[in-house]
């Protein structure tokens, strides 16, 4: 069993989920409440990873973070490092790839909160940021939890994007799905089966635990 790859995937999934929560909550807030006419464009861009093959996304990400792109050059100047073939690069790709899996459930959760509660808070002199933190987020917890679980699960199982931008470096970018693929390619079917089974068990346990713990908060199946 490739414990190194499993541990890497867990770290990647946790980091991706945390970053997505930090990014996704404000973005979902904007999407839910903005009245801009071009909002639909942002919504479409956010949802693109749902439609695009991971290989296409990976292909663009590799170009975008490579040393020849402005973003890649800026990163190199700031940190002295390079994004391709690094954990950070993988993180960038994973965040983009799982963005809709966070933003959509969270936006749905926000939209389900009675807007007048927010207005009541504003009228009480409480800032928009504090209202977001004290009213909107607590009331949208089911949607936020759903978004976090989906992002975690989606990143754990991510393959195409990692294949395209990772470079398969053990301990850095060789995630569990890549490891399984390598094992299959190398005809180590027994090892591949073992790791797959472990991944299956881990994913099932995480999801089952989360749903069991959240049952009290969610009256209904949150994915439906």
């Amino acid at each position: 069993m490739d414990w190194q790859a499993i541990w890497l995937s867990v770290r990647l999934a946790v980091s991706t989920t945390l970053i997505l929560l930090a990014l996704g909550l404000p973005l979902a807030y904007w999407i839910t409440f903005s009245r801009r006419r071009w909002k639909f464009l942002v919504e479409a861009v956010v949802s693109l990873p749902l439609v695009l093959p991971p290989t296409v996304l990976g292909f663009y990400v590799l170009l975008a973070i490579g040393p020849r792109s402005p973003a890649g050059a800026l990163y190199a100047r700031l940190t002295g490092g390079m994004l391709p073939f690094s954990f950070q690069g993988l993180l960038v790709a994973s965040v983009l790839y799982s963005l809709p899996f966070t933003v959509q459930p969270v936006a749905a959760g926000f939209a389900a909160v009675d807007r007048r509660l927010l207005e009541a808070s504003w009228c009480l002199g409480v800032s928009r940021l504090a209202t977001f933190r004290r009213i909107l987020v607590p009331l949208a917890i089911p949607g936020i939890a759903t978004g976090a679980i989906l992002s975690f699960a989606h990143t754990m199982g991510e393959f195409g994007v990692v294949l395209m931008v990772g470079g398969n470096i053990a301990g850095v970018t060789r995630t569990v799905s890549i490891s399984i693929y390598d094992q299959v390619q190398a005809l180590n079917y027994a090892a591949a089966g073992e790791t797959s089974l472990f991944l299956l068990g881990l994913s099932f346990t995480v999801l089952a635990l989360t749903y069991a713990l959240q049952r009290r908060i969610w009256p209904v199946w949150p994915l439906s």
Binding site: P84, N168, I169, Q185, L187
Partner: protein, 250 residues
């Protein structure tokens, strides 16, 4: 269905063939063969116009796994003779049809605009990432690793290695600028749409184990035999050679 087959049979006979041949030939070929094999097939079709050659390109390891599960291929052209050999050993292919059609060659490749000299690039200190195919399952990756060891650069390069899923992706890593230098197949480096994009240095053949690229007939048929013969005859060999697949000296 029967009627259709009968009509086709008549059509085949009327083209002047003296023997009834299968009308379709399905070939599973390693991805690096794509340019060469298209031309080989064109030549083959001129000789055997009644045979409809259909080629699927992909990873040799994947094809091996698929054929083990009875994928309907007639001929398997692998990047590594080991896969056909195993199939023959397992009784999943026609054992006496095993053949070697080329010896794989590897080159050190840098993009055209790179300041690096491909002959010395592996030793350059400025290099951050060296791309090779995954040695775990890609024959070119194994050859690259062996070559770096015998050239004495492996220890300094090891920490810089990034692994492509196959040689084509390895090339893409370098081409995109994400990696500085890569070790890829000669056939890829001189392929029509790659030729002008980079410079390469041929790694001496004695630096890595002989990479026999071999094939086998999976399902016996006259058409499969005909294709095998064509590939190994001077016409097919000449085409392969132009695309970088050098042949073993018999």
């Amino acid at each position: 269905m029967r009627a259709v087959e009968r009509m086709l049979l008549i059509a085949l006979l009327s083209t002047g063939c003296t023997r009834v041949q299968p009308r379709k030939l399905t070939i599973a070929a390693a991805a690096d063969l794509s340019f060469a094999l298209d031309e080989v097939s064109r030549g083959f079709l001129q000789q055997y116009p009644a045979i409809d050659v259909q080629t699927a390109y992909g990873s040799s390891g994947n094809f091996y796994a698929q054929i083990r599960n009875h994928a309907p291929f007639d001929v398997f052209l692998s990047a590594d003779v080991e896969y056909p050999r195993k199939l023959a050993g397992e009784g999943l292919a026609v054992a006496d049809s095993l053949f070697v059609y080329a010896l794989g060659r590897i080159v050190v490749w840098v993009p055209a605009e790179s300041a690096l000299d491909p002959a010395t690039a592996l030793r350059a200190a400025a290099v951050r990432h060296v791309a090779i195919a995954n040695p775990q399952h890609a024959p070119y990756g194994r050859a690259a690793e062996a070559a770096m060891r015998s050239l004495g650069v492996y220890d300094s390069v090891e920490g810089k290695l990034v692994l492509g899923e196959n040689v084509a992706q390895t090339l893409q890593f370098v081409e995109s600028g994400a990696a500085d230098v890569g070790i890829v197949a000669l056939s890829l480096a001189i392929a029509p749409n790659v030729r002008d994009r980079g410079r390469y240095w041929q790694v001496p053949m004695e630096a890595y184990p002989k990479m026999e690229q071999g094939g086998i007939i999976v399902k016996e048929s006259a058409a499969a035999r005909a294709f095998r013969s064509w590939l190994l005859a001077p016409g097919g060999r000449g085409t392969l050679q132009r695309y970088g697949f050098y042949l073993p000296v018999n």
